[in-house]
Symmetry: C2
Subunit: 158 residues, 2 copies
DNA sequence: CATCACCCTGTATCCGAGTACAGAGTCAAG
DNA sequence: CTTGACTCTGTACTCGGATACAGGGTGATG
């Protein structure tokens, strides 16, 4: 199967395959005598896997790590497990974060009824606060929606 | 509070604030007579919210939508709700996907014990297959994992 | 007033992740 | 063969999301 076919089946641009190859994500395939790349069928799956991982917010560098891990390329099993554990923690963090975000949005949706302009700003502020509960800006029951701004609140991280 | 302070508290580069302002994400703040930007305290929270959303895989354009929604800027409440619903569906999809990915990784970690090279490739292949179960590459029960390649050739799982 | 850290605008640069294009070669159906 | 669709390499460009830098202004402290 050559690049056009692989690309079509995986839903990417043929150029992208070359790009992945340069990055070392896709192994160099066999070549025909004329120099055409001749991919095994599983290449399609591999590319799909990469796209999935990207959808989930992993960079190509992250994907490289995942694949190295899958290859048993890590020096020791302990190392491999460490990488896996880190990924798991990362995933759990993301899942939790998404869950919180989901609640915020659901709350916004639930409050909004009937036609006409919404009164969502207050909820947005709450959403922000619920993501980082350390400070709810005082005086922002309403903000630019209908009203005014005022004073303090603070303290950092991220 | 001016830009340096906001930037520090929100954990971003001051330049980034200007960038967000250009994008319309951060509202134009008051200015001192000399032209210094004078931000209200809640700007810090807003910026943090933006970074959180980005961490979750939202683009700045998505963030703009979210904020427009929160502002009641959508023409009608129905529209706002539609946007919210779409976001919720998106979040649910992501959460589910992450959950699947989590299982795959957990399985990999669980199988790997003690020191020495791992036997993870097969699992990786399964992981790929579980994401898209349509085809498991034939002849890849094991691959190039531990130098001890299996009977069926070296075209390797990467 | 002098000082010095901080801020202003505008433009240029960087990085990741592709995508496009030019110019040349290959494959296989007719 | 010839033809037309496809592929090759190499280089350049795009786009989002910042960052850096130059050259000059501000502001509050002593």
């Amino acid at each position: 199967m050559w690049s056009g076919e692989v690309a079509k089946r995986a839903g990417v641009n043929p150029q992208t395959l070359r790009y992945y190859e340069r990055r070392g994500i896709l192994p160099e395939p066999e070549r025909t005598s004329g120099g055409f790349r001749d991919y095994p069928a599983w290449a399609v799956n591999l590319v799909r896997f990469v796209r999935h991982a990207q959808d989930l917010g992993y960079s190509l560098t992250d994907v490289e790590d995942l694949l190295r891990l899958a290859d048993g390329g890590a020096a020791s099993c302990a190392e491999a497990r460490a990488v896996t554990a880190a990924r798991l923690a990362d995933l759990d963090r993301r899942i939790a974060e998404l869950g919180r975000m989901r609640e915020c949005l659901a709350a916004m949706g639930a409050v909004c009824h009937g036609p006409g302009p919404g009164r969502l700003c207050r909820l947005m502020v709450e959403a922000v606060a619920s993501i980082d509960p350390t400070s709810i800006p005082p005086g922002h029951d309403t903000c630019s929606c209908a009203g005014e701004a005022s004073s303090s609140a603070e303290d950092g991280g991220r």
